[in-house]
């Protein structure tokens, strides 16, 4: 009987681990993800502090955006890595900033251009005053088509909330 239970629980294990409970953030919450995601903490929401985000696969962009006088080096987790981490199942992603500025991008767009949520500007953590704490950056240096008005408008700063639809 014990064996049967053990075997059954072994069979069920992969099913239960599919919907994983993420560890709760210890520090100040920088990002909240909600909507069509598999992994969350509670109420279908996944919240992340700086430390958690720093552990995810990341990238570094050296960009000269229109808002600075020279090129800066930006580091941060890949948006696609964050979405994988939360088991995102949707294709339409809505990103919203602290000032309610919000944009919508498709999963395919993210897969193609692999944007980052920059946390460090020239190695310094970005505060709200410096477009932080999270700034969605597109690799404009690699893809010239990203320099258009429309794509530049997608580089949302002071990002605080992602909703998967």
């Amino acid at each position: 009987m014990k064996l049967i239970i053990t075997l059954l629980s072994m069979l069920l294990l992969p099913l239960t681990s599919y919907a994983e409970t993420l560890p709760s953030p210890q520090g100040k919450v920088l990002l909240t993800i909600s909507g069509n995601i598999a992994n969350s903490q509670k109420d279908g929401e996944a919240k992340f502090d700086r430390e958690q985000l720093a552990k995810l696969p990341s990238d570094t962009f050296i960009l000269h955006t229109r808002w600075t006088n020279k090129a800066h080096t930006y580091d941060g987790p890949l948006l696609s890595a964050i979405l994988d981490h939360v088991g995102s199942k949707g294709t339409t992603i809505r990103l919203t900033a602290l000032n309610d500025y919000s944009i919508v991008i498709q999963k395919a767009y993210i897969n193609k251009y692999q944007p980052i949520l920059a946390m460090l500007d020239d190695g310094k953590a970005m505060s709200i005053r410096d477009k932080g704490p999270l700034w969605l950056l597109l690799p404009q240096d690699k893809y010239p088509e990203l320099k258009t008005e429309e794509n530049t408008g997608k580089m949302i700063w002071q990002l605080s909330h992602i909703e998967i639809e």
């Binding site: 808002w67 600075t68 709200i128 002071q158």
Partner: protein, 638 residues
Amino acid sequence: MPPFAFDRLLSRFKSFWLIPIVLIFFVSALTSLSQLKRSIEILDERYGTSVWSLFQLKTELRRFHDSLTLYGLDNSKHDEIVERFDILWSRFPILLEGEDARQLKKIPQANELVIEAYSKIQSIEHTVLQELKTTPHLYTQIQLELVPYLRAVDKLTLDNYHFNNDFYNRGDKRVSSLQRQLIWLMLGLIVSGALLLIMVIRESKINRYQAEHDSLTNMPNRSYLRKMLTALCNKNTPFALHLIDLNGFKDINDTLGHLTGDQLLQAVSQRLLENIDAPFGCMTCRMGGDEFAILHNKYIDADSLKQVSAQIITSLEEEFSVDGHSCFIGGSVGSVIYPDHGLDASRLLTHADIAMYKAKENSPSSTQITFDFEMVASINRRNQLQKDLREALENNKLQLAYQPIITLTDHSVSYFEALLRWEHPLYGNLSPLEIIEVAEQYGLAQQLGSWVIDQASQQIHLWKQSGLPLVPIAINISPAMYRLDLASIINNTLHKYNLPPGTLCIEVTEDTTMQNIQEAQIVLSKLVENQVSIALDDFGTGLSSLSHLQQMSVQTLKIDRSFIFDITTNPTSNALVNNIIGIGHDLGMKVVAEGIESQEAADILQNYHCDLGQGYLFSKPLTAEDAFNFFKNKSTDR
């Protein structure tokens, strides 16, 4: 030439027009380029996102102001005030750095206002972050400090929006004004380009016309004719070509001057145009000099060719009135027919030339001759003979044959006539007549004559050495020899071989002598002075009159073979010969009968007291050796 006035205007002031047209073209082109570049720059200019950023600043200022009011009602959420304050703070660097800052600087005082507002926000940082937490009512004071900036930023936002709109409108206006200028520039480009194109086309047309037309008569020239001939040959339909050389043109040119000559050529071309080109649908060309060509491309048959060529000759023979002079010329016409006489332009022209030269032989009378391939053969033969004769003379390949002249009474050898023999490797034995003709034609006659004199003298000398008595030899001389000092040449040669005067005789024909009767008389009398005996050859067939016979210093008369061969059957010949012998004797000459072939004839002639005889009855012409033997036999016979 196209006759329209514009074209004439262009041609008259060609160099005058060319410079401004080229200038307009280049100035228009360069200015258009720079205008286009300017337009692109204007269209490329962006005012960017400063409008958006200012609206965001304005909103965040307002939001912060409103959140302060809310904080006044419920002062538990100081965190939210701090967040709003940070967001408001973050709006300033955007307007002070990067593209938005650059754009904003175009508006007077805008940058200063943003800096001032930013300083204000920085100055209240401590109050907002710290003091407000413990002293919530401070919010009204902060709001009061913010109010002037709220208003000022509102105004700036609006100003910037208007400026932005104006900017685009201004750009549009500049672009459209540039476009209007561009229309004019394009017009200049098109017009000057078109003019240049017209000039280039016109020049090339003139050049082509000049290359294919004769400048004096304005008629198509040789190169145009060649082109036409080639085109016609490719079409493979029969046509005729007449080459014309004017007869007597050189004399007119020499006597009346080149100006008159040129006018005559113009008159000739005009007449050919009217009389041949118009009615027969032909094309007259001037080949150069006094040579014309008529392309008769409606050739049907030999009759139509004769018709055209007859009309050409008639036209040329009519009087030409040039510069107050009345000129009579004529033409020698050589005609060829395609494809009978050649399949390409070069061959047709060459053959027409040959026919024309053949016709020219009849000059000054005008004749037309149609080409015949035999002409080529005879020309080739002549060319070959000419080359070979030169060589033969140098290498002593010519020979003399000797035909004895017999005393009719005792059948002894009186003397030998030397006859020229040349066995040509290709054409075989050539007649002396042809050899002399070739020599005359190519300036070898004197050389040939001297060779004959030398050869005959040498033979007399050799025979003498072989034990024969002195046997005189008669040689034939050609007209060209009259131009030399024949007497001295003969004397010198005889002297060279140590022979006495009188051993060498000369035979002249009536025709050649009568042609140059003056020259001939001088030469002949000088020969007589030097004891050179002269015989008149082929008497009775040529031009000589009895009075000439009287004047000329001739010792021997040779009756032509045409009287002798039927002397036995034709009473007229018989009577004539009898009388010629009588006349000869009366003038103190010896008489020789040529071409005796029967004993009967010899008998008759002896009966008529003819002195000497020559012919196959006695002997054909012999080699030197045979002649030697013949002489010896005759001597021993007696």
